[in-house]
């Protein structure tokens, strides 16, 4: 598990300017996290070779969800898609997921609320927020809740991949 990612977020999110955004998105290109990911988890045997990182994606827009999943699959990631925060929570999120890509404006429980819930339950899963509605208030909420990156839709694959690498590099 990429422990300590919350610290990374805090470092990156001290200011709310665009500078923060670009830093968070370009981030640290170190992809060392992959090595850690290759270790099989307890009670969940995995093939030793070519273990992909698994990214959970939570978005209530089916078209967006499918598109991102395909993009990440094409980049060699395993994905698990959820259409709501509730269904993600119901799936016992602690197991088998390396990173969460979370839409902020979900129907039902919001992405921000889910992030808080995860923190409250002691989870250290790195979270990348994404939103199709970008404004000061949303950004501040995302920042306050804690995240390793904040992506505005539509975003390029490169930004997403870098953000995930950044999440995995958690120092």
């Amino acid at each position: 598990m990429a422990s300590g990612s919350a610290d990374t977020a805090d470092i990156g999110l001290k200011d709310n300017s665009r500078a923060w955004l670009s830093r968070a998105m370009i981030g640290d290109r170190n992809e060392c996290a992959r090595n850690r990911m290759k270790q099989p988890r307890q009670g969940e045997p995995r093939p030793v070779s070519a273990v992909p990182k698994t990214v959970a994606i939570i978005d209530d827009n089916a078209a967006v969800l499918k598109g991102i999943e395909r993009l990440l699959n094409a980049h060699g990631f395993a994905t698990r898609g959820f259409s709501s925060a509730e269904s993600f929570l119901a799936s016992q999120p602690a197991t088998g997921i390396d990173c969460v890509l979370l839409d902020i404006h979900l129907g039902g429980m919001s992405g921000i609320a889910l992030r808080r819930e995860l923190s409250a339950s002691g989870s250290t899963l790195p979270v990348i927020f994404m939103t199709a509605f970008d404004d000061q208030a949303t950004r501040q909420q995302a920042q306050a809740a804690g995240c390793v990156a904040y992506l505005r839709k539509p975003f390029a694959g490169r930004q997403l991949i870098e953000a995930i690498a950044h999440a995995g590099s958690g120092r």
Binding site: D60, K66, R70, P154, A156, G157
Partner: protein, 669 residues
């Protein structure tokens, strides 16, 4: 449809008053007639004694009068019957609804009831719409309305051919054929191999009872997937995973395999939401609800023709003067948006096809928006072309997307509502995001060996759909840009509510929602723009109605209440019996992008919020202890001073807020 339904409602109302007067007079006269002549059978030509002959008819409807088809038929029939304002026709209506109230015992009871009811009511002609009404007229006319001429419509010619028509029967038939549906499906799907049949089983169906006979012949050329009579959820499952080169033929689900009753169009919509193949339909009233269309029966000419025949008979003609004939009621009509979705060229459609919902006038009328729409399509084209021709152009396309988006956002100046730009951006960013992800993923896949052509194709299809979605967003916007910006004047809030109720009534009825009002009897004067206030109330009401989608029929209630608080503020409360607003989002419901509905655009409440605020008022949402949500807004009361008042003149310094309820703070900047 909305306008038609409203016209029907209003028509029904005025008809009701008239019926009261007229009925009383004729009844008295009819009693005398019976006493003197002892000939109740002559009730049809009652009101004797030198008076003009009775001009009254009974319209027999076969099922629920608020089904869209029936609304259209009834509205047009009534309008046609009373086209001549000087020679009004009294119209009675009886709706049989045998689908839900069946059985011989009930039919006998109904027959007895109608016999009593019309015992002394003169009737000049019966109008029977639909095969069940036709059957009923055949069996029951002589005991209820002896000798009264019958004009029928919307009955399949095969059904009429099988019947032995008694004297006094005439009408117009149509030709309902499964073959026509298959023909439409063939036009939509090249190399059509399979057709999934969705609807009530043919042998239980009224309109489509003759379809079963055609199946063996048609099955020589293609395979039918019989989904008739299944529970709706199974139908939804099956229609979501149909093979390619198939289409869905939807007739009507009145009652599904689990025994639940539906309005056929509601059931259709629920299938269309999930279906993975195009849906062809046999009736015009299904078009516009996620169906591609087809060779469809058109209610308007049917109702016109039947009503005209009835008028001729009321004027003294004999039914035998008009032999039964087939009318030209089956028209090829298609939904442009669905043709786009399934990539159908119009040259494939049957000759003479009419294509509805074409967005042509939109281009002409709204140049600015059209440009933005064209921009998005250009982005799509750029992306796809870039994908196949030159990968490098991708970043340029991205820039283009951003630039176009900025253009779209720019449009909000026209609207002048700050909320709009945020919502446009949000609603367009979603499909743009999906387009970008799919395009990039497809690019990567193209480099792989072996090439997964099917997957890439699927991605391109999704790109096209997302593009369509973006185009739809823009179409919604034009509704909001059509605004009335005249100066605020003194208006009575109760009048506003009454206007809105009028607008809403048909929609509410269709959704099975009871709408009630509790209006303060005083005049509730505020200084505002009437159209804006209607928009606020309408948005709140529609929001409440949407919230009750999953509430059991019979428990859907919408209540609009007005009151005067401390003589300083006029308050309107719109409450529903839905599940209420979850506490964690209660504070955010007025944010511009915020919606919990999968098909919602998240604008209604935020626009209400903006309008109320601009008029110097306040708006809030809360849950009721008894369940459901209540949305309130209040405006400063315009004290009706005799002098030329400056009352409430924008007065933002003193928003009328009742004690204890602080003005709601806007969440967004």
């Amino acid at each position: 449809m909305g306008a038609e339904a409203m016209a029907a409602a209003m028509n029904a109302q005025t008809q009701g008053h008239r019926r009261g007067r007229y009925g009383a007079r004729c009844t008295g006269r009819a009693v005398v007639t019976v006493l003197i002549a002892g000939a109740a059978a002559l009730a049809s030509s009652a009101c004797l004694g030198g008076e003009p002959p009775t001009r009254s008819v009974v319209i027999i409807g076969q099922d629920d009068a608020i089904l869209p088809w029936n609304v259209a038929v009834n509205t047009v029939a009534r309008t046609t019957l009373n086209a001549d304002a000087d020679r009004r026709v009294v119209i009675y209506a009886e709706d049989l609804d045998f689908g839900r109230f069946g059985g011989d015992r009930y039919k006998r009871q109904l027959q007895n009831h109608l016999r009593e009811k019309y015992m002394y009511v003169p009737v000049g002609a019966l109008l029977a719409f639909g095969p069940i009404a036709f059957d009923f007229a055949m069996n029951a006319r002589d005991s209820i309305w002896p000798g009264v001429p019958v004009v029928f419509g919307a009955v399949d010619e095969a059904t009429v051919a099988k019947a032995k028509l008694p004297a006094g029967f005439t009408g117009r038939t149509l030709r309902f054929r499964l073959e026509d549906m298959v023909r439409s499906a063939n036009a939509i799907v090249p190399d059509l191999k399979q057709v999934a049949l969705v609807g009530d089983p043919f042998d239980r169906s009224a309109y489509f009872r003759n379809f079963a006979m055609e199946v063996p012949e048609l099955a020589k050329d293609l395979q039918f997937i019989d989904l008739t009579g299944l529970p709706l959820n199974q139908v939804r499952q099956r229609t979501a995973e149909l093979p390619e080169q198939s289409a869905i033929a939807y007739t009507a689900i009145y009652r599904d395999g689990d025994g639940y009753d539906y309005m056929p169009r509601e059931a259709l919509r629920s299938v269309a939401d999930v279906a993975n193949r195009p849906i062809v339909v046999p009736a015009e009233t299904y078009i516009g609800y996620g169906t591609v269309g087809g060779i469809v029966a058109t209610p308007v000419p049917i109702a016109e023709d039947v009503a005209r025949l009835a008028l001729r008979i009321l004027d003294g003609a004999q039914p035998s003067d008009f032999p039964v004939a087939r009318g030209d009621y089956m028209k090829p009509i298609f939904d442009w948006r669905e043709l786009q979705r399934w990539n159908v060229r119009e040259t494939r459609l049957p000759p003479g096809s009419q294509v509805l919902f074409r967005q042509l006038s939109f281009w002409e009328q709204y140049r600015g928006l059209a440009l933005a729409g064209a921009g998005i399509i250009a982005v799509q084209a750029t992306l796809i072309t870039g994908l196949f021709l030159e990968r490098r152009r991708r970043s340029a396309a991205e820039l283009e997307a951003r630039r176009r988006l900025a253009e779209v956002a720019h449009i909000n100046r026209r609207a002048g509502i700050a909320a709009l730009s945020a919502s446009i951006a949000h609603e367009l960013n979603q499909p743009l995001g999906a387009i970008l992800s799919n395009a990039e993923a497809a690019e990567l896949l193209l480099d792989r060996q072996p090439l997964d052509v099917a997957l890439v194709k699927e991605m391109l299809t999704d790109i096209r759909r997302s593009d369509q979605r973006a185009a739809d967003v823009i179409t919604h916007m034009r509704e909001l840009l059509r605004r009335d910006d005249s100066e605020p004047v003194e208006i009575d809030m109760n009048d506003v509510i009454r206007h809105v109720i009028e607008l809403l009534a048909p929609e509410a009825r269709q959704r099975g929602i009871a709408v009630g009002t509790a209006l303060d009897p005083r005049r509730l004067l505020v200084r505002a723009n009437s159209v804006h206030m209607q928009q606020v109330v309408l948005n709140l009401a529609l929001n409440g109605m949407d919230a009750m989608r999953d509430v059991a029929a019979g428990n859907r209630r919408l209540t609009i209440q007005t009151s005067l608080r401390d003589n300083t503020a006029v308050e309107v409360a719109v409450s529903d019996s839905g599940p209420g607003v979850p506490a964690d989002i209660l504070a955010r419901v007025f944010e511009p992008f915020f919606t919990t509905k999968s098909d919602g655009i998240g604008l209604g409440l935020s626009i209400a919020h903006t309008i109320v605020e601009r008029a110097g008022g306040a708006i809030s949402a809360e849950n009721r202890p008894a369940g459901g949500a209540v949305f309130r807004f209040s405006l400063p009361a315009a004290t009706a001073r005799p002098g030329k008042g400056d009352a409430g003149r924008h007065a933002p310094a003193q928003p009328a807020v009742e004690p204890g309820r602080p003005p709601r703070q806007r969440v967004t900047g």
